[in-house]
Amino acid sequence: MKAENLTHTLEATASSVLGEAAFAMVDGPSDWDEPPQLLPAKDMIAARLQFQGPFTGSMFLAAPVTLAHELAANMLGLELDDPEATLRRGDAVGELLNMICGNLLPLIAGNAPEFSIGAPATVDCAAARDMAGAHPEDLRAIVTLIVEDEPVEAALFLDDFPPEAATLP
């Protein structure tokens, strides 16, 4: 599978999930004039999960704290000043990541293989970004999306990815 196809599939899946589950307006790279500037890690809420199956790996999703709050409010149908939106913003990022992963893996490997997807955990965004730098060989796709005018990062890491496992070209 070509890396650009994987990146495009991740972008399309993340955009679709963020739009459908959190009613968010999403712009991908094809909509930009220039790449968005990433925010400092301290201003982000990040989640990571691991999966196992025909191939193993992990995924990472990070959203600015303000956007995570808005996503949680949208998912729950709450006003922005509702304290439950504050309480649930980390969980919102984790659940969106879970949905992105669950929808992405069949697009990569087809519907037949079974994957076991672990529970998403909130992680330090700086550490997650460092992982991408420390293991470039495992980082198979990374995208930045503009969601409600704020940058969201999504990445896919594959530990052992046999080309024959892919159904995408």
């Binding site: 149908g77 949905m99 669950g102 929808n103 069949p106 519907n111 079974e114």
Partner: protein, 130 residues
């Protein structure tokens, strides 16, 4: 009398989303109860009368498959209808669920209409069987 529903999901936001959809649905809802995994779900099922279980598959401690399997092996719980709400798209797992008698399968992300359609179908089906 309203439907007594148990929502089993390890994600608090997902439990809240489903609860909100059901509350706004116009369905006659009785008690709504919640559990964070299959093991907690079974405990709630043994303690309360339930008309419907809405469950995730991927959960810590005890996943949805194990929970449904134990329900089907339990004389008291075996006939409670189950709707699975999951990101799982694997054909093998869907087949396995069908084999366990699960007819309501909703894929995440879902619309409120998809949840309500599944609830109406599963509850109607169960009423016809009894």
């Amino acid at each position: 009398m309203g439907l007594n529903i148990l929502i089993v999901d390890d994600s608090p936001i997902m439990r809240s989303m489903i609860k909100r959809i059901l509350n706004l649905s116009g369905l006659d809802i009785g008690e709504m109860r919640f559990a964070g995994n299959g093991d907690e779900g079974l405990t709630v099922m043994h303690a309360h009368w339930l008309d419907l279980v809405i469950a995730d598959l991927n959960m810590p401690v005890m996943d949805g498959f194990e929970m449904i399997s134990r329900m089907r092996g339990d004389e008291v719980l075996r006939n409670i209808p189950v709707i699975v709400v999951s990101t799982e798209g694997s054909g093998t797992k869907i087949e396995k669920l069908r084999g366990m008698g699960v007819t309501g399968i909703v894929h995440k992300p879902f619309s409120p209409e998809e949840i309500l359609k599944a609830v109406n179908e599963v509850v109607y089906e169960a009423a016809n069987e009894s």
